[in-house]
């Protein structure tokens, strides 16, 4: 068992890290605007493709690729906010309408990507080559980097939203838009900020994932669904609950794959999800109702 357990736990940590990065972006927009961004996965894919183009086709190196990829995701995120979310602020069905418009945005981005880049598989080079020994189990250095980087990014985000002025304006707007405007916060700018920040998280996930999986137009679909399962489990209310749920789900998934195999893991996860929701409709750690 020892020989299998450590790699399984490491893979659980890796999945948890990726889910935490994805889901915290979704949670950030939800807590600030009350919008669920279905284009989050597509933004991630866009980041990966731009990073690939800059790194491989233009030959500018991986660092430039990362910056370009994340930058492209941020621009696309802000454009989505301006064109597809902003016109519906204050509408009675805003939550539902923005689900539709962001779903449409995800179609536009994904299909646009296949028009521009075609169906051929692409892959980014790894940030670090080689392997690291974790408790006697060999793990690739790149995956270790993701495992270390994700909590660092989350901590930075937590520090930003709790300790800085502009970060706290995000929370103020999320709690009460009118009062936030009264104390001098530029509410529309804060909305764009939330979308841009969330898109940056999607971009980071995309460029990291782009070197462990093949980049296809559908790269973001699976992670988006998993991030959705995470936010259902954790509730959309707070960053801590979302991150916690991400690691719980990542670990569960890795252990289930070990015990039951790849076939039954999604079904068991889903049954667990339904069970959680029947007894705790606001998620495992959730308190804030939708």
């Amino acid at each position: 068992m020892d020989g299998v357990l450590i790699p399984t736990l490491v893979s659980g940590l890796l999945l948890g890290s990726l889910y935490a990065l994805m889901a915290s972006g979704l949670s950030l927009i939800w807590t600030t605007l009350g919008v669920f961004n279905f284009a989050h996965g597509a933004l991630m894919t866009l980041g990966a493709y731009i990073a690939w183009t800059v790194t491989e086709q233009l030959g500018l190196g991986l660092a430039a690729g990362f910056v370009a990829g994340i930058g492209a995701a941020v621009i696309a995120g802000v454009v989505i906010e301006l064109l597809l979310v902003r016109p519906f602020y204050g509408s009675r069905n805003m939550m539902l309408i923005t689900v539709m418009t962001t779903l449409a945005a995800s179609t536009i981005i994904e299909r646009g990507i296949s028009v521009i880049w075609g169906p051929r598989l692409k892959q980014l080079p790894r940030v670090i080559d080689g392997q690291v020994n974790i408790l006697g189990a060999p793990v690739s250095a790149h995956e270790t980097l993701i495992i270390v980087l994700a909590p660092a990014v989350l901590l930075a985000l937590w520090w930003y939203t709790g300790r800085t002025r502009s970060g706290r304006s995000l929370r103020a707007v999320g709690q009460n838009q009118d009062s936030a405007a009264l104390i001098g916060i530029d509410v529309p700018r804060t909305f764009s900020l939330a979308f841009g920040l969330s898109a940056a998280l999607a971009g980071v996930t995309g460029v990291l994932l782009g070197s462990i999986r093949f980049i296809t137009p559908g790269l973001g679909a699976d992670p988006l669904v998993n991030a959705m399962i995470v936010v259902i489990f954790g509730g959309l209310g707070s960053l801590g609950a979302t991150a916690g749920a991400a690691y719980v789900i990542g670990m569960m998934e890795a252990l289930l794959v070990l015990w039951l195999g790849l076939y039954w893991t999604p079904s068991v996860l889903f049954v667990a999800l339904i069970a959680v929701l029947v007894f705790r409709p606001n998620g495992l750690f959730g308190k804030v109702s939708a």
């Binding site: 669920f36 449409a104 079904s267 889903f270 929701l277 998620g283």
Partner: protein
């Protein structure tokens, strides 16, 4: 449902019933058949999304479940297609019951997330249970429909055309009857003012279970028909693309109007098929549909039916 609307629906049905006498080529009839199938999915979705106000994003999964029920029954168990098609309605209804269990108690965005995740789960199960479902390649060469020795594919799909039209007509008639019934009225009450509806003794949870099951039956049946008609079942039926296409039919047509989504389904199917013939548009046509949906949401949230209604001055959606 006003008298004019009823007359309009009847006229449309008569018109569609005589189309095959003028349209004799196999391809145009095929587009009509596909349009009827999408229209059936769209109008049933409109029952839960538009009339019921339930943010159900797993509706296309009911369709996919119908597709795979018919495909698996006919290939693995040698069941006659005539039994396999209605069986799709039964399995879809069972799936609707299962998903209704958590959905009955959930609020707002969580309904969207759970129903959406349900559709993706179906996809993963289909992909992982390759022995039964054919995995990513799907199932092919399903048996075709026959009556005695008569194959439905003959005479340029004449029989398939009328069967598809019949499924759509039954769906629309049943849904219009539901919309007018006390049950339909209580659905709208729950949609427009859940607290008041609950205070008048309407159980929101019970309504949700009923509306999900009611909208799933014909969706599953038409899924079974789709599989038998095309003679394939592919995992794409659970994908984002079909879901986005059908939801845009509901929204462009006008959510809650039943007739609107049916009209939009016909129009959009012909539009996307026409664009598919243009070089370089195979992918771009989905972008155009998505943009059209966004534009309709911005300029005419009530959909095309609402625009016509305002032009004719004949008031509100059903």
């Amino acid at each position: 449902m006003t008298r004019t609307q009823r007359l309009f629906a009847l006229a449309a049905l008569v018109l569609l019933a005589i189309v095959p006498f003028f349209v004799t080529d196999s391809y145009t009839r095929h587009v009509f058949i596909v349009a009827f199938i999408y229209a059936t999915v769209a109008v049933n979705w409109d029952l839960s999304l538009g009339l019921g106000g339930l943010f159900n994003f797993g509706h296309v999964a009911f369709f996919g479940i119908g597709v795979y029920t018919a495909a698996i029954l006919t290939t693995a168990l040698d069941v006659s297609p005539w039994i396999a098609i209605p069986a799709g309605g039964i399995t879809a209804a069972i799936a609707a019951l299962i998903i209704a269990l958590p959905v009955a108690k959930l609020q707002g965005i969580y309904v969207v997330l759970v129903t959406f995740a349900f559709g993706q789960l179906c996809l993963q199960i289909v992909l992982s249970q390759g022995d039964l479902t054919g995995g990513a390649e799907g199932l092919v060469r399903l048996p075709y429909l026959t009556i005695g020795d008569y194959k439905f594919i003959r005479d340029f799909k004449f029989a398939y055309y009328y069967l598809a039209l019949a499924i759509l007509a039954v769906s629309v008639i049943v849904l219009l009857l539901i919309a007018q019934s006390p049950f339909g009225k209580s659905l709208r009450a729950v949609r427009d003012n859940p607290d008041y509806a609950a205070s008048r003794g309407i159980s929101v949870a019970r309504q949700r279970v009923l509306v999900l099951v009611a909208s799933s039956v014909m969706t599953g049946v038409v899924g079974g028909f789709y599989a038998i008609y095309l003679r394939v079942a592919s995992p794409e039926v659970f994908g984002f693309s079909i879901a986005t296409l059908v939801v845009s039919m509901v929204l462009i047509g006008g959510a809650g109007s039943i007739i609107g989504p049916a009209i939009a389904a016909l129009a959009l199917t012909f539009a996307t098929e026409a664009m598919a013939g243009v070089r370089g548009m195979e992918e771009a046509r989905f972008i155009i549909v998505a943009v059209a949906m966004i534009v309709v949401l911005q300029v005419a949230p009530g959909g095309v039916v609402d625009i016509f209604g305002r032009l004719l001055g004949s008031g509100r959606k059903t």
